[in-house]
């Protein structure tokens, strides 16, 4: 049913059939992300409910380091930009090299993010902010930790895509997968913006 295809999905200059074939996986992946969004939504709601459940443990003022959070935010957003470059390269240049290069840049930026995040976590532990300390901290670690876990999975996925590019080249299946990974990667940005606003900025406001 080509009449229902979304404009802008095409993987290359002119391949209607590949275009059509990637419809279903892309739509399915959107649905999956919406389902994942529910998970984050519930964790956000739970975090808000638990804001005051600190049991005399440490709170945002003791735990958060806005400078590091700002750095993480810039890194993640920059990596989304570079992923966008990879998508454009895939669509318009049809060569493996630029795609792979942009992916590698994305991966480097992306990998620095959990690096900083882990350092923050270590600082929090040093301040006594372990998840076992209070209901508030459990909610915090679950929310931020799940996002971090998603980023880690995304990094593994990028590695797999690099391997696929090397072995299979820019086949239509690989391109479709790159499209899905792109959705995933941008989705993580979205979640992070939520975390930044609600957890970090909201917590320190």
């Amino acid at each position: 049913m080509s009449g229902t295809a979304h404009p802008g999905l095409n993987l290359g200059a002119s391949d209607a059939r590949a275009h059509e074939r990637s419809e279903t996986p892309v739509f399915g992946f959107w649905v999956f992300l919406m389902s994942d969004l529910i998970i984050f939504g519930i964790l956000f709601a739970h975090y808000i409910v638990m804001t005051d459940a600190r049991a005399f443990g440490p709170g945002p003022a003791q735990l958060f380091d806005l400078k590091s959070v700002a750095a993480q935010t810039s890194l993640l957003l920059a990596s989304s930009y570079t992923y966008g470059m990879a998508s454009l390269a895939m669509k318009h240049r049809e060569r493996i090299r630029p795609v792979a290069l942009w992916l590698i840049v994305t991966a480097i930026l992306g990998a620095t993010f959990p690096g900083l995040e882990l350092r923050d976590f270590a600082n929090m532990i040093a301040e006594g902010g372990v998840p076992q300390r209070s209901g508030y901290l459990s909610a915090l670690w679950a929310l931020v930790g799940l996002h971090g876990l998603h980023v880690a999975v995304g990094l593994v996925w990028i590695a797999v895509m690099l391997a696929l590019l090397a072995v299979r080249g820019l086949s239509n299946r690989t391109k479709t997968r790159l499209l899905l990974l792109g959705l995933y990667w941008h989705f993580l940005d979205l979640i992070w913006i939520g975390i930044l606003s609600i957890v970090y900025l909201g917590g320190l406001a």
């Binding site: 049913m1 279903t24 399915g28 389902s35 519930i42 076992q132 300390r133 209070s134 209901g135 459990s138």
Partner: protein, 695 residues
């Protein structure tokens, strides 16, 4: 949380975990029941292995079933899995009732054992009976109804089934190794926290439900995407059969409701295993959040399982009345309305938790409103039958039973929706009466109607009508005696989940319900027997042409069983009930104008690998065998990644071959005499229908 030092290899597993040694140490009826149940699992498994080996069926099982990506077979496997689990859960229901007969000031079972029984019974019935039954029906029927060759993601479909099966496996193995939790099917903390339930039982629940819940999310995703993307040309939304509509709504609900369950179980796992404080009663934990999150899933779940049953009843009422479905649009709207409203009522499961009168009133009213669309549906089905050419075949018999019994259960639900009344009767046997009253006449009767309706399509022969009618009547009688008295008991003040009671007035009623439970066991026995007897007599029941009931939707236009690719050529749909129209216009069973090469997914063992590893992981975390948990997780990740590198994932069936197969089928259809509805259950009905009433 105090975790004692454990063995690095075996975690907290040791030789004391089976119930057998307890029985040997202190023989009692209680321990005997536990040991017998525990023995049944390995013995049952051994029996199955023996039969498979004896008949030399391992290869076929592996090739045609375990590794298949065919939605029809996956659907059937879902239903078989649910059937096996149902045997256990019904037996448990009966054992509980038998126990309660003796339970005036005591009883044969220990209260610990009784608690395990209602916990496993409820868990199994909801997650491993009701859910896989409807998932199985949707998997089997939806692609056939919309003119698709398979679901959108056939391999993912296999993985979903495997995840559900591994959850079921965890519940089963808990009979033999260790014990199941005792917190009921909802496992409310703080009772189920590490402090008060330190053993592995609650962990079994957490992992069984967590793993199978992910499977259900993915199954819902798959079916929804299939309906959006794989419809045959011309199959517009408002031309889809009603069952497909309900499947669409159910699958959307699965996508949005099951994540809440995933979150609830994951938090519980973190609390129990890593000492977090989500739901504990110290250090700021909030146990009410558990009820909140759990029922965000839990209430939609009841509509997830009942909507497909409504879909079956829609198909059945119109097919067996030889009439177009009355009020199609109103049924679509009602289905959608239920799907949406069902996300706004979850709080009625904890009116007594203290959120104040206004909040309660809002949710109470929402709950009452949701009864309206269901009422619309009931009238639509009755109007469909009105002045139709009604045959009292088994599916219609179930529908009639549903009319009387389900409506009653729905009405008691409206009673419970009133918070002031709920304060009196919540947590009583009244509630137990209510939910069995909607789940059995709603979901179970609906699914049984669906199974009897589509069985000939799946296997190419009908089920014995007479035996099935006896079974249906036993279900009704058993249900009435086993569950309607519970309303009375509840109003007398008997709480649910009571292992013992001290009011002698309860005892006679318990006898009645135990008698009813025995009839239900008989009903299940007759139903299972009928599968065997019909398979034995399949030559006399055959309906290879595939249209034994003068069906209306596309699935009846293909032979029974259908070819792996479902349709020889994709149908062109011009209206609702396309197959009826085609027959009425006098030209069914025509060759296609052109045939195409068909691409179908190859079999793969991905599902078995992921399901097996998920099972091992759940088991390992339950028993703190950390190395195994790590290895299993790595296997899952490795399998997913390796799959990305597999190239030949499909095989192509050449157009020539498809055409030849179609010619053969058409010839058969032409040779076989068409029968009218008077001969519907006679051996002459080989599945070629002489249409009775035009359109």
């Amino acid at each position: 949380m105090a975790r004692q030092a454990t063995d690095p290899i075996f975690g907290r597993l040791d030789w004391s975990v089976t119930p057998f040694d307890d029985f040997l140490a202190a023989p009692s009826i209680d321990e005997a029941v536990a040991s017998a149940a525990a023995a049944a699992v390995p013995l049952g498994a051994l029996a199955v292995i023996a039969v498979l080996t004896w008949k030399g069926l391992w290869g076929a099982l592996w090739r045609d079933w375990l590794t298949t990506a065919d939605h029809k077979r996956i659907g059937i496997m879902y239903i078989v899995l649910a059937g096996v689990m149902m045997l256990r859960a019904v037996a448990e229901g009966f054992v509980m009732r038998a126990h309660q007969v003796t339970a005036l000031d005591g009883g044969v079972l220990s209260s610990e054992h009784f608690a395990q029984l209602f916990s496993t019974h409820g868990t199994i019935m909801i997650f491993f009976v009701a859910t896989p039954l409807v998932t199985g029906l949707m998997n089997f029927a939806v692609p056939l109804q919309i003119g698709a060759r398979d679901v959108a993601f056939p391999v993912l479909n296999q993985v979903s089934l495997a995840l559900t099966a591994s959850g079921a496996g965890l519940v089963m193995i808990s009979l033999v190794i260790g014990q199941f939790g005792t917190g009921g099917w909802t496992m409310y903390p703080p009772y189920t926290s590490a402090t008060f339930s330190p053993g592995p039982g609650v962990d079994y629940w957490v992992w069984a439900i967590g793993i199978s819940g992910i499977g259900s999310t993915l199954a819902g995703l798959n079916i929804a995407v299939t309906i959006y993307k794989n419809r045959a040309p011309g199959m517009r939304f408002l031309r889809m059969p009603m069952f497909t509509w309900t499947a669409l709504c159910t699958s959307i609900m699965m996508i949005y409701a099951f994540p809440a369950l995933t979150v609830a179980t994951a938090m519980m796992a973190l609390d129990r295993t890593l000492g977090f404080h989500f739901f504990t009663n110290d250090l700021g934990g909030n146990m009410m959040q558990y009820a909140n999150i759990f029922w965000m899933f839990g209430h939609p779940e009841v509509y997830i399982v009942v909507l497909p049953a409504y879909g079956v009843f829609s198909e059945v009422s119109s097919t067996f009345s030889a009439k177009r479905l009355y009020g199609y649009n109103s049924l679509v709207i009602a289905t959608m309305a239920i799907a949406v409203i069902s996300f706004t009522v979850w709080l009625h499961h904890f009116f007594t938790m203290g959120q104040g009168a206004r909040v309660n009133a809002a949710f109470g009213i929402a709950t009452m409103i949701i009864a309206v669309p269901t009422g619309v549906k009931v009238y639509d089905w009755m109007a469909t039958m009105f002045r139709g050419r009604v045959r009292l075949s088994v599916p219609i018999i179930y529908l009639v039973g549903f009319f009387f019994l389900f409506v009653f259960g729905g009405l008691t639900g409206v009673v419970l929706a009133n918070p002031t009344i709920d304060y009196q009767i919540h947590n009583s046997q009244f509630l137990v009466g209510h939910f069995h009253n909607v789940l059995i006449p709603g979901v179970i009767f609906g699914v049984l109607a669906g199974i009897h309706y589509w069985f000939p399509k799946a296997f190419g022969f009908r089920l014995h009508e007479r035996t099935a009618r006896v079974g249906a009547c036993l279900w009704f009688a058993g249900f009435v005696f086993a569950f309607l008295p519970l309303y009375w008991l509840g109003l007398m003040g008997m709480p649910r989940r009571s292992a013992t009671y001290d009011n002698p007035a309860f005892e006679p009623v318990m006898w009645v319900t135990a008698g009813g439970a025995a009839i239900v066991v008989a009903a299940l026995g007759v139903t299972v027997w009928n599968f065997y007897a019909s398979t034995r007599d399949r030559a006399a029941l055959a309906c290879p042409v595939g249209d034994p009931w003068d069906g209306r939707s596309l699935e009846w236009s293909v032979p029974a069983p259908p070819p792996a690719y479902n349709f020889y050529a994709l149908p062109q749909v011009k209206s609702l009930d396309p197959w009826t129209i085609e027959k009425a216009e006098g030209a069914p069973y025509q060759p296609a104008d052109a045939y195409e090469d068909i691409e179908m997914p190859r079999p793969t063992s991905l599902g078995v690998v992921i399901g097996g590893a998920a099972f091992a992981m759940g088991f390992a975390v339950t028993w703190w065998v950390w190395w195994l948990a790590g290895v299993s997780l790595a296997v899952i990740a490795g399998a997913v990644i390796a799959r990305a590198f597999v190239q030949d994932t499909t095989r192509t069936i050449p157009a020539r071959e498809v055409e030849a197969a179609h010619q053969k089928v058409l010839q058969q259809a032409r040779q076989i005499r068409a029968v009218d509805r008077d001969d519907e259950i006679a051996p002459a009905n080989l599945g070629h229908a002489a249409p009775e009433v035009p359109a």
